[in-house]
C-alpha cells in the first residue's frame, strides 16, 4: 500500500503548478471566460511542447505513454484554474475514443496531430434529449453514394467552437447499442458550432445541415461505436474527476485563506464556528472526491475491474464540486460573487461538469448495475 505520488508524478505536479502560476493567474482565467473559443493559441502551443496534449497516448502515436494516474496529476493542476481549453475534450476523451474505436491506419492519421495540438478533437454524444446513454443517440446518417449525410443537432458538446475535428456518435441500427462513430471535419460544409450562452462553460451546440461525410470517416467498424466509446469513457472520466478534484482543492485553499484574513466583529471570520462548518463541509467533499477518483485510477492502471469505481468517482466528484462551490460562496459572501475574484469561474465549471458525461444520479444507477445488485 502506498497512497503517495511517485517521484516523477511529484515533478510533473511541480512543473504544472509553476506553469499555471506563471501563465494563467486568476486574471487570465477570468479574462478567458467570455471568449467564444476556449482555446488560447499561445497556451495551447506551450502545453503541446510540454507533452501535455498527448499524455494519455502511446509513444507510437506521438504521445508520452504515461499512465492514467500520471495524466490525473496534470489534470488536477489544470483544474485548479480552472484552466479553460479543450485539454480534456481533445487530449483525453477525444484521444482515447480514437484509440479505442479507430483502425490502426486511422489512429496513425489522427492521433499524432492531437499530440502536437494541430488537431483539436471533441466528442459529440448527447442531443436535445440530454441523455448520456446509447438510447439518447438518435442522430441517424443517411447513406448516399457510399457516403453519409448528417442532418440534426448535437448538444452540450464541450469545446466544439475550438475543435478542428468532431467525433460524432450516430445511430446506425435499431438495436439499443447500434451506434457508430464518425470522424467529421469541423470545417465541413453544413457544420456549425456555437457556444451555448449562460451559466455553463464552453458547452456547445453542433448543427449538421446536409453534411456530407465520406465512408472512410467511419471510425473502426459500424455498430461497435458504443462499446468503444464506453471503454474510452471509463478511462477518461477519472481524469475529468481529477480536474474536478483540482478545482475543489483550489476553492478550498481560497476559502481557508479568506477565513484567516477577512476580519469582521474584530476577528478573522474563521473564529466563528458557523463559518468553520462551511470549511469542514468543503474539505469533506474534497477528500471524498479525491480518494474515490484515485482509487478508480489505481484500478484502471493495474488492470482491475473498475467500472463501478469509475461511476462512483464521477457521482462523488460532481456532487462534491457543486457543493464545494456552494460552501465557498457561504464563506465568501459578496466577495465570492465578484467575477474578478475568480470563484465564479469554478462555480460555473462545477455546474457544467455536474451534468457533463452524466450526472450523479445517472452514474449511481450505472454503478449499481455494475455491482450486480
Amino acid at each position: 500500500m502506498d497512497l503517495s505520488l511517485t517521484e516523477s508524478q511529484e515533478m510533473l505536479r511541480t512543473t504544472a503548478r509553476s506553469f499555471m502560476q506563471r501563465e494563467t493567474p486568476v486574471d487570465v482565467v477570468v479574462g478567458l471566460q467570455k471568449a467564444e473559443s476556449s482555446l488560447e493559441r499561445d497556451l495551447w502551443a506551450k502545453a503541446a511542447r510540454l507533452g501535455w496534449l498527448g499524455i494519455v497516448l502511446p509513444a507510437e502515436y506521438g504521445g508520452s505513454g504515461d499512465s492514467l494516474s500520471d495524466a490525473a496529476v496534470l489534470y488536477e493542476e489544470l483544474g485548479r484554474g480552472p484552466l479553460p481549453g479543450p485539454f480534456f475534450s481533445s487530449g483525453v476523451l477525444g484521444a482515447l475514443t480514437v484509440l479505442e474505436a479507430g483502425t490502426d491506419e486511422q489512429r496513425r492519421r489522427i492521433l499524432p496531430g492531437v499530440a502536437t495540438g494541430e488537431t483539436v478533437l471533441t466528442v459529440a454524444i448527447t442531443e436535445p434529449n440530454t441523455s448520456w446513454g446509447p438510447g439518447g443517440i438518435t442522430l441517424a446518417p443517411q447513406g448516399r453514394n457510399g457516403s453519409f449525410v448528417l442532418n440534426g443537432t448535437k448538444l452540450f458538446v464541450s469545446d466544439a467552437t475550438s475543435a478542428t475535428d468532431l467525433i460524432v456518435a450516430v445511430r446506425t441500427g435499431d438495436g439499443p447499442t447500434d451506434v457508430s462513430l464518425l470522424h467529421v471535419d469541423a470545417k465541413a460544409r453544413g457544420v456549425s458550432t456555437r457556444r451555448l450562452p449562460g451559466f455553463l462553460s464552453w458547452q456547445c451546440e453542433v448543427s449538421f445541415d446536409n453534411v456530407q461525410v465520406p465512408a472512410t470517416s467511419l471510425l473502426g467498424e459500424a455498430q461497435r461505436g458504443w462499446a468503444a466509446l464506453s471503454r474510452a469513457l471509463e478511462r477518461a472520466i477519472p481524469i475529468l474527476c481529477a480536474y474536478i478534484v483540482g478545482g475543489c482543492q483550489a476553492v478550498y485553499e481560497k476559502s481557508v485563506l479568506y477565513t484567516q484574513t477577512r476580519v469582521q466583529f474584530g476577528v478573522p471570520i474563521g473564529r466563528f464556528q458557523r463559518v468553520q462548518d462551511h470549511v469542514v463541509r468543503l474539505v469533506n467533499h474534497l477528500d471524498s472526491a479525491r480518494w474515490a477518483t484515485w482509487e478508480a485510477l489505481w484500478k484502471l492502471d493495474t488492470g482491475r475491474p473498475a467500472t463501478a469505481s469509475v461511476h462512483m468517482a464521477k457521482a462523488v466528484a460532481s456532487e462534491a464540486y457543486l457543493d464545494v462551490c456552494n460552501a465557498a460562496h457561504e464563506v465568501h459572501a459578496g466577495m465570492g460573487v465578484l467575477i474578478e475574484y475568480g470563484l465564479p469561474a469554478h462555480t460555473q465549471m462545477s455546474r457544467t461538469l455536474f451534468h457533463y458525461l452524466g450526472d450523479p444520479r445517472w452514474h449511481k444507477r450505472r454503478m449499481a448495475d455494475a455491482l450486480e445488485w
Binding site: 503517495s4 477565513t259 474539505v283 457521482a315 449511481k364 444507477r365 445488485w373
Partner: protein, 414 residues
C-alpha cells in the same frame, strides 16, 4: 499509488496459518446474540478466553512491541490478522478494551520504562481488560474541564475521589485508565494527570447506566455504560503516567487515536448484510434491490460507506507510513458518526418498518437493522461529539486560531 497491500508468499502462508487457527479456536457460540444478561456474561468470558489465546500468540495486539508482550509484527501481518478476524465479525481485541488500546498507546509514548514493563504485558497478552474513564457529569466534550475527580498526593501514593460516567460496557473490568484533576487551583491544561490502576481497589463502585444502544460488548455501541464512584481510593504513585499535571499532553496521543487518527481497514458489516437483506426480501413480489427507489437509496448508502472506507484506509496509511497528519483523524470520526446517523434514516426509508423490529419472523436477520437504528444514534457521542470533531478539524486546518494545532503523537518506543 497502490490501494492494496501486496502479500508475499510468506505472508500468504501466515494468512493460512491464522485462518486455520481461528477456525479451530473461534467457537460459533462466540458470535451469538446473547439472550439474557447471564448469557451475555458467559459470552464475554468466552471472548476473554479467546483474547488470552490470541495474546499468547502475540496476535491480540499484533503491532505492539514484542519486548512488552505484543506481537512485534509489521503492519502487513497485522492487516492479515485483522482481515481474518473480521471474517468472523470480530475485532482485535474481540471485546471492549478501550483503556487497553488507548492506554497502552499512551504509555508507550509517555510512560517510563518501568511502567511499560509493568503495565503493557498484561494488556497485550489479554490477561486484563481495561476501561478508559474520561467523562464526568460536568466534563464531557470539555475534557480539559475535568475537576470532579481528583487525585491528591498522600505519602507514597495518591488518593482518588470523585465520579466518572459513560464508562466501559458490561461485565466489569480489571484495570482502569483514567484522567483526573491533580491541581484544582492550577491553570487549564496544566492540572490533569493520567493513572493506570487496578479496578478492584477498595473504594471503587460501579452502577450501570442503561443506554438506547444494544449489545453488551459492542464497545462504543454498548447498550450499557457505567457510573464509577471513587471513594478515597489509594493508588501507588507508580500508577501516574506521564508526570503530574502533564495529563493534557498525554491526552493528545489518546485523543488522536480515539478520534480516528489510527485509521481502519476492513469492510462495513452493516452494508454487506443490508444488501443481502434487500436482495432476499420481496415487496409486491419484487426484491427490494430491484426497485428503483430502493436501489437509489442503496447507492447513496454504499457510496457513503465506500468514502468512509477510503478515509479509514488513508488514515491507516498515513499512520503506518509515518506521514504527517492534520485534520484527517477527526475527519474520519466526523464522517463515520454523521454517516451512521444519516444512515438510520436512509435504511428506514429503503427497508421500511422491518428495520425497527428484532422479531425473528418480521425483522431483518438477528435484528441487525434494528441494532443499526439504535447504534447509529448512540455512536454520535463516544470519543467526542460530531461538533467536537468539527472544532478539531478547523483548528488543524488552521482557521479560528492564531496558531495551527498539530495532530497528536501516536508512535512510541518500539
Amino acid at each position: 499509488m497502490d490501494f492494496e497491500v501486496t502479500y508475499t508468499e510468506e505472508q500468504q502462508r501466515f494468512r493460512r496459518e491464522v485462518r486455520a487457527w481461528l477456525e479451530a479456536n473461534v467457537a460459533p457460540s462466540m458470535l451469538r446474540t446473547p439472550t439474557s444478561a447471564e448469557d451475555n456474561y458467559r459470552r464475554y468470558l468466552e471472548l476473554r478466553d479467546l483474547g488470552r489465546k490470541l495474546g499468547a500468540k502475540g496476535w491480540l495486539y499484533p503491532t505492539a512491541p514484542a519486548k512488552y508482550g505484543g506481537g512485534g509484527l509489521d503492519v502487513d501481518h497485522a492487516i492479515i490478522l485483522e482481515e481474518e478476524v473480521d471474517r468472523f465479525d470480530l475485532s482485535l481485541p474481540p471485546y471492549y478494551d478501550s483503556g487497553g488500546r488507548l492506554g497502552s498507546a499512551s504509555i508507550l509514548v509517555w510512560g517510563t520504562e518501568e511502567q511499560r514493563q509493568a503495565f503493557l504485558p498484561p494488556i497485550y497478552r489479554g490477561e486484563v481488560r481495561t476501561w478508559q474513564l474520561l467523562t464526568e457529569p460536568g466534563a464531557g466534550s470539555d475534557l480539559a474541564g475535568v475537576r470532579m475527580t481528583t487525585a491528591v498526593r498522600d505519602g507514597d501514593g495518591y488518593v482518588i475521589r470523585g465520579q466518572k460516567i459513560f464508562v466501559g460496557s458490561d461485565n466489569g473490568t480489571d484495570r482502569i485508565w483514567m484522567i483526573v484533576n491533580t491541581d484544582p487551583k492550577g491553570k487549564r491544561h496544566e492540572n490533569l494527570s493520567w493513572f493506570m490502576i487496578d479496578a478492584s481497589l477498595p473504594g471503587i463502585t460501579m452502577q450501570p447506566m442503561e443506554l438506547m444502544g444494544t449489545g453488551g460488548e459492542g464497545g462504543t455501541d454498548s447498550g450499557v455504560k457505567q457510573t464509577v464512584f471513587f471513594d478515597d481510593v489509594r493508588v501507588p504513585a507508580f500508577a501516574l503516567v506521564g508526570g503530574e499535571n502533564k495529563g493534557w499532553t498525554v491526552a493528545t496521543t489518546h485523543l488522536e487515536l480515539e478520534h480516528g487518527g489510527g485509521g481502519r481497514i476492513g469492510r462495513n458489516r452493516v452494508w454487506d448484510r443490508l444488501l443481502r437483506y434487500c436482495q432476499e426480501t420481496k415487496r409486491d413480489g419484487v426484491p427490494l434491490s430491484q426497485q428503483q427507489d430502493v436501489r437509489d437509496s442503496l447507492a447513496d448508502i454504499y457510496i457513503k460507506t465506500e468514502v468512509q472506507r477510503l478515509f479509514g484506509l488513508r488514515n491507516f496509511y498515513l499512520t503506518y507510513a509515518r506521514k504527517p497528519k492534520s485534520y484527517e483523524g477527526p475527519q474520519l470520526s466526523y464522517y463515520r458518526k454523521t454517516t451512521g446517523l444519516w444512515m438510520t434514516g436512509a435504511i428506514l426509508e429503503a427497508v421500511g418498518p422491518a428495520a425497527l423490529t428484532t422479531d425473528p419472523a418480521w425483522g431483518a436477520p438477528s435484528g441487525f437493522l434494528e441494532t443499526q437504528q439504535r447504534n447509529g444514534i448512540v455512536s454520535v457521542h463516544p470519543g467526542g461529539t460530531t461538533d467536537i470533531q468539527r472544532v478539531q478539524m478547523a483548528r488543524r486546518i488552521g482557521i479560528g486560531r492564531s496558531t495551527r494545532e498539530k495532530a497528536g503523537t501516536v508512535h512510541g518506543a518500539e
